[in-house]
């Protein structure tokens, strides 16, 4: 796999560290069910997945990557906060 870092360009996957599902949101309440979902539950899709990677052996930025978990195709990558839908 190759991943495009917004700062460094297209780089080998080996330079990046996987940081997990990018869609989970920290709850704004103290409701236990909401916290269980946030800490432990994942959609784990078989197909397109929005996820966080950090460019650990490069500029060290955290980035959002849209990638297919079945084919490993990387569609898109950008800085967190750049996409209004996130």
């Amino acid at each position: 796999m190759k991943i495009k870092c917004p700062y460094c360009g297209v780089r080998d996957q080996g330079e990046f560290s996987y940081e997990g599902d990018a869609t989970i949101k920290r709850p704004q309440t103290d409701d236990a069910d909401a916290w269980r979902e946030y800490v432990y539950s994942r959609n784990n899709p078989r197909g397109p997945h929005k996820e966080l990677w950090s460019h650990i052996a490069g500029c060290r930025a955290w980035i959002v990557v849209e990638r297919n978990t079945l084919t490993h195709e990387v569609y898109n990558s950008y800085l967190p906060g750049e996409n209004k839908d996130d």
Partner: protein, 417 residues
């Protein structure tokens, strides 16, 4: 037909033309007492023990591909019970005891070989941690031996004990009763045993949806039609959440890819299983002579059943650091499997909030060795609608209640377990 020396000779005299297939290939019925989804090790063992231990034989195993085509046929066959936490220790030790009698029980040679499993240590800190683990194991009645550097060298002399070793070997934790088994034979043996007792093996039958009446499960939709049952057990390993999402359930599971490798065949070289303690690498030798080796996950969510090259390089580098003589051996084959990584590294074997639906998942790296015990306790849970003592802790609600079984202390990060 029972497999025996007598039957072998009898069939040899007739040119081996009269052997029967090891299981039937029936059409699915419209109704069963119990459906098991997934014809991997756990699904097949569950069907076997439902029939053997509980007399429940109106059962079908539904498999989307062929029996044993999933992780049960892709793993590196290590069997051990060197766990520290109580729930895991008792469960995996029960499994190891079942392994010790499995070939006889199944009348099928699973080639279980108790050649020992050795975890290397490279620092005094690691030796202390292994001493602690060994003590916990012994207190739980499990065999464990702490080896110092010299004892390790005697046990497995071909590792790098030189001055140049990047990570000098300090010693290791040995479980002498651990070892390996023939993975395909485990799937085939359980399938044959269940079939002989009347269980239907339905292959090329993918479950695509569920029938339910409110909160009660009633059956499944499959590529071979609708099949009804009051009780359904899910044992689909890395594909668990693709099915539970159809039921509106979210689980503490992520699917990740794990790769493995086999080299060209060699004369006997390594007579145990050994794991590197300073990186991600382990190795053993199969009865055909190939070295069987692997490392850690690729560390990203994947359903691809194949991995990427950085992990290949990493695993082989670790192998070279531990066992420099690997350098001239060629890799013959290499593959990946989809692992159901749980949020605390321990399995989930439980009833669910849906009546009649039972869940078996979260096997991470270690589900092969669990196969007999997993089938044993899952069959018990399905037959009695309550858990066996050995899976009572493997619930879903342990996550929200704080009763995690986190052997590595790695926290809710599936890739880290």
């Amino acid at each position: 037909m029972r497999y025996s020396g007598f039957n072998l000779i009898k069939n040899a005299l007739s040119g081996h033309k009269n052997w029967q297939p090891a299981w039937r290939d029936p059409e699915p019925k419209s109704d069963y007492d119990v459906l098991i989804i997934g014809g991997g090790g756990h699904g097949l063992a569950t069907a076997y023990y439902l029939a053997r231990n509980h007399g429940i034989t109106n059962v079908a195993v539904l498999e989307k591909g062929y029996l044993g085509g999933g992780n049960v046929g892709r793993n590196t066959t290590i069997v051990r019970s060197n766990y520290m936490l109580k729930a895991n220790a008792h469960f995996y030790e029960h499994s190891l005891k079942l392994w010790e009698g499995l070939s006889q029980d199944l009348n099928y040679n699973v080639m279980f070989s108790q050649r020992g499993v050795l975890n290397l240590a490279h620092t005094p800190g690691q030796m202390d941690a292994y001493a602690r683990r060994a003590n916990a194991m012994r207190l739980n009645g499990i065999d464990a031996e702490l080896l110092d550097r010299e004892q390790t060298r005697q046990f497995i002399p071909m590792l790098d004990y030189s001055e140049n070793a990047r990570f000098p070997i300090a010693g290791g934790l040995l479980q002498p009763r651990g070892g390996t088994a023939r993975h395909d034979a485990v799937a085939w043996g359980f399938a044959r045993g269940a079939d002989l007792r009347g269980v239907d093996m339905i292959q090329n039958c993918e479950v695509t949806g569920f029938l339910r009446d409110g909160n009660t499960i009633q059956g499944v939709e499959t590529t071979r039609g609708t099949i009804r049952a009051k009780k359904i057990g899910l044992a689909v390993a890395g594909n668990t959440t693709t099915l539970t999402e159809k039921l509106g359930m979210r689980l503490p599971i992520e699917s990740h890819v794990l790769q493995a490798f086999v080299t060209e065949g060699l004369k006997p070289f390594i007579d145990t299983v050994v794991t590197f303690g300073a990186g991600h690498f382990y190795i053993s030798q199969s009865d055909k002579g190939g070295l069987v080796l692997g490392g850690d996950l690729d560390y990203y969510n994947s359903y691809a059943q194949r991995g990427n090259l950085p992990t290949v390089e990493h695993v082989l580098e670790c192998g070279m650091a531990m066992l420099p003589s690997l350098s001239r051996i060629r890799i013959l084959r290499h593959w990946g499997g989809v692992m159901d990584m749980s949020m605390d590294g321990s399995p989930i074997i439980t009833k669910t909030s849906i009546k009649g639906l039972y869940l078996n998942c979260g096997w991470c790296y270690g589900g092969f060795k669990a196969t007999p015990a997993s089938g044993w306790v899952f069959a018990h849970t399905i037959a009695n609608d309550q858990p066996h003592e050995y899976n009572a802790a493997f619930t879903l609600d342990r996550f929200e209640k704080g009763y995690l079984i986190d052997e590595r202390g790695a926290g809710p990060v599936p890739k880290a377990h």
